[in-house]
């Protein structure tokens, strides 16, 4: 077993709203090994972003609050750290890039300053030295003429360029964990592919771990070796990439894989009707007694509506939260 860099144990995050308590993250556990790329997949509202924000203590509070659980980074419990200590972790050991680079960059600061800032804060080096380092990083993320760009503002850059700046900013202190929350969702496909290969190259080169949060199964297939699937605040399946695509166990995972149109299927002469997952995601406000997917599940049993299943092992490296694990089809060949 490789050493885990990050371990989240039984994390619950609640949002206190006038309508009630929203259980955005509900007893989530996951781990990332050193140098590993973990894909975190799910639809909007499934808790994938909230999980990642709680790692760095960035949950907006109020209304949000970490209700219970532990987050260990390199053996240290991040939750018991004070704000000051946590500030030293953010941007130095763990950094983050977001979906929308325009809203995560400061519009009134030149990009050079923004890329250099983490170095000045964490390594206490002079502005001049930090800017020189920033130029090198802008160069590494393939921003043309970085010396000139240093003085430009975010609005002068295209979306793809801004995301490169974000990556340079996140990488400049050589973090050991990079959290990328939908890093390419706002970008066009040709730019997406540039950014993905840039991130993969940097991970390979620096040996950092990558937590890649996305709703796009194509992006996961290209980048991750192991995948965690979330639904309505819970982890419903954990699997190696191969297993996830070839023998998904949870009916939700199976449904997701069948519901996406595959490029090239028309050329193969078939246009099969997409298999939709009926219904919609349950509200996080209503406490569900049984499985949260029960109302949409094509394989629902009586027990599914009564008691919540636990995350159970199916085979080496694959787990699912489904009552099916307790019954027959352990082979995973559930049609």
């Amino acid at each position: 077993m490789e050493e885990n860099l990050l371990e989240i144990e039984d994390l619950s995050v609640h949002f206190h709203t006038p309508e009630g308590i929203g259980r955005a993250v509900d007893h989530v556990s996951l781990s990332i090994a050193k140098g590993e790329t973990l894909g975190l997949v799910g639809e909007s509202g499934c808790g994938k972003s909230v999980t990642s924000l709680s790692i760095l203590g960035l949950i907006p509070s109020p209304p949000g609050r970490i209700h219970s659980g532990h987050i260990y980074f390199d053996g240290k419990d991040l939750r018991s750290m004070g704000e000051n200590a946590l500030r030293h972790v953010r941007g130095r050991d763990i950094s983050m890039i977001f979906q929308e680079p325009m809203t995560s960059l400061n519009p009134v600061l030149p990009i050079g300053r923004q890329v250099a800032e983490p170095l000045m804060v964490h390594h206490r080096i002079s502005r001049q030295a930090a800017l020189e380092e920033a130029v090198q990083w802008l160069n590494r993320v393939k921003i043309p003429a970085p010396e000139k760009r240093l003085h430009e503002y975010p609005h002068q850059l295209s979306g793809g360029m801004r995301q490169r700046v974000m990556i340079a900013m996140a990488m400049v202190c050589r973090p050991r964990l990079l959290i990328a929350d939908e890093p390419t969702t706002a970008l066009d496909v040709s730019i997406q592919s540039q950014i993905l290969s840039l991130m993969e190259g940097l991970r390979h080169e620096t040996g950092m771990s990558l937590l890649l949060i996305t709703h796009d199964l194509g992006v996961v297939a290209q980048m991750a070796k192991r995948v965690v699937v979330m639904y309505a605040g819970q982890v419903v399946e954990v699997a190696g990439l191969q297993d996830l695509f070839e023998r998904p166990f949870h009916p939700y995972t199976q449904g997701l894989l069948k519901s996406i149109p595959r490029l090239g299927s028309r050329a193969a002469g078939k246009k099969e009707r997409l298999k939709e997952i009926k219904g919609t995601v349950p509200s996080l406000l209503d406490p569900v007694s049984g499985c949260k997917f029960a109302d949409r599940c094509p394989r629902v049993f009586d027990v599914c509506r009564e008691r919540q299943p636990e995350l159970e092992a199916i085979r080496d490296g694959q787990q699912a939260r489904c009552w099916k694990t307790q019954f027959s089809e352990r082979s995973g060949r559930y049609a």
Partner: protein
């Protein structure tokens, strides 16, 4: 041209002014759509793909006459609608409707679902009120909502359900043509399939033609009969859906296809197929608009703009490679 052409667009151009003010002239022009021709047959689903800023949305709006073209013509069912006045256009608007990307901003939050869905009927004032309600119920059920939803407000629905309301609204006047501008892009994966299937069923049931605008190649390939690829305001290729993914011939189309991450664990990160960004549409490159990024660029591409040439059954490409036949596979 097939005989049952519903929509015919010829040499359409739209330039937007940049800068300038009330009394001063614009300093330059954004060439959002720059000489586009295509046609859509009755019952056909025609896809427009391209990256942001390629002009696909502007083109959709020009077709609907929500924008006035700078030059060129739009013909609906044989009738030239390019220069019709607002009042002359009004009855024709029933024949073409639009579905928008964002199901949150395209529905009036203060209107009930019944009012939203029947608004086009009221605009054309064709049937009495009681019948309008009946019709709204029928439409809601058609798109998978319930009669009980009639008196709710948009905020009570999820994104997928709101998109269904938008679809019901567009169907209410029995249009022949629907321009769907990224209708599933804002939806989650599991909901996206529901709406795609719904649009597919409605096309058959009502004999609709679609102009389906999207940046998602997999969705467009699935939904459409024919696909046009746009780059910097122009169509670079149109191909039937069943050859699109394997036999497309424009280097830009090939690059786009190569960039799509496939949901297949065997796929590795491909080398970035295209370097750089799309040039500014204010000052597009001379000759072929793609020549600044094209791996196969040669002298002629920098000087002369290629026109669409036929390379196969319903397959056209604008590229100087192989004497105008484009990249061959």
């Amino acid at each position: 041209m097939p005989e049952h052409t519903l929509l015919e667009v010829t040499d359409l151009v739209k330039h937007f002014p940049v800068g300038g003010g009330l009394l001063s002239k614009p300093t330059s022009w954004v060439k959002a759509v720059d000489g586009v021709s295509f046609h859509v047959a009755k019952g056909e689903s025609f896809g427009l793909v391209g990256e942001s800023g390629c002009g696909k949305t502007t083109l959709g709006r020009l077709v609907m006459r929500l924008l006035d073209p700078t030059a060129g013509t739009v013909k609906l069912d044989g009738k030239d609608i390019t220069h019709l006045s607002r009042s002359a256009l009004r009855p024709l608007r029933q024949q073409m409707q639009i579905i928008f990307q964002d199901p949150f901003s395209s529905l009036d939050p203060r209107m009930k679902v019944e009012a939203i869905v029947t608004e086009p009927l009221r605009a054309y004032d064709r049937i009495p009120r009681g019948q309008r309600r009946e019709k709204a119920v029928a439409l809601l059920e058609k798109v998978g909502l319930r009669a009980g939803d009639m008196d709710k407000y948009p905020h009570e629905f999820s994104g997928g359900q709101r998109q269904r309301i938008g679809i019901a609204r567009s169907l209410c006047v029995r249009p022949k043509l629907i321009v769907a501008d990224e209708p599933v892009s804002a939806l989650d994966v599991s909901i996206q399939a529901q709406v795609i299937n719904l649009l597919d069923d409605l096309r058959v049931e009502f004999g609709l033609s679609y102009v389906f605008i999207s940046h998602d190649l997999s969705v467009v390939e699935y939904m459409c009969d024919r696909i046009a690829v746009m780059y910097l305001g122009g169509i670079v290729e149109t191909a039937p859906a069943d050859v699109f993914s394997v036999n497309s011939r424009h280097p830009y189309t090939r690059a786009l296809l190569a960039a799509v991450p496939l949901p297949d664990p065997q796929g590795q990160v491909p080398p970035a197929p295209l370097d750089g960004d799309v040039p500014s549409p204010i000052d597009p490159p001379a000759g072929c608009a793609f020549h600044t990024r094209c791996p196969y660029v040669h002298e002629r591409c920098r000087i002369e703009r290629p026109v669409l040439a036929k390379t196969g059954e319903r397959h056209w490409v604008a590229c100087w490679l192989n004497a105008g036949a484009g990249f061959s596979v």
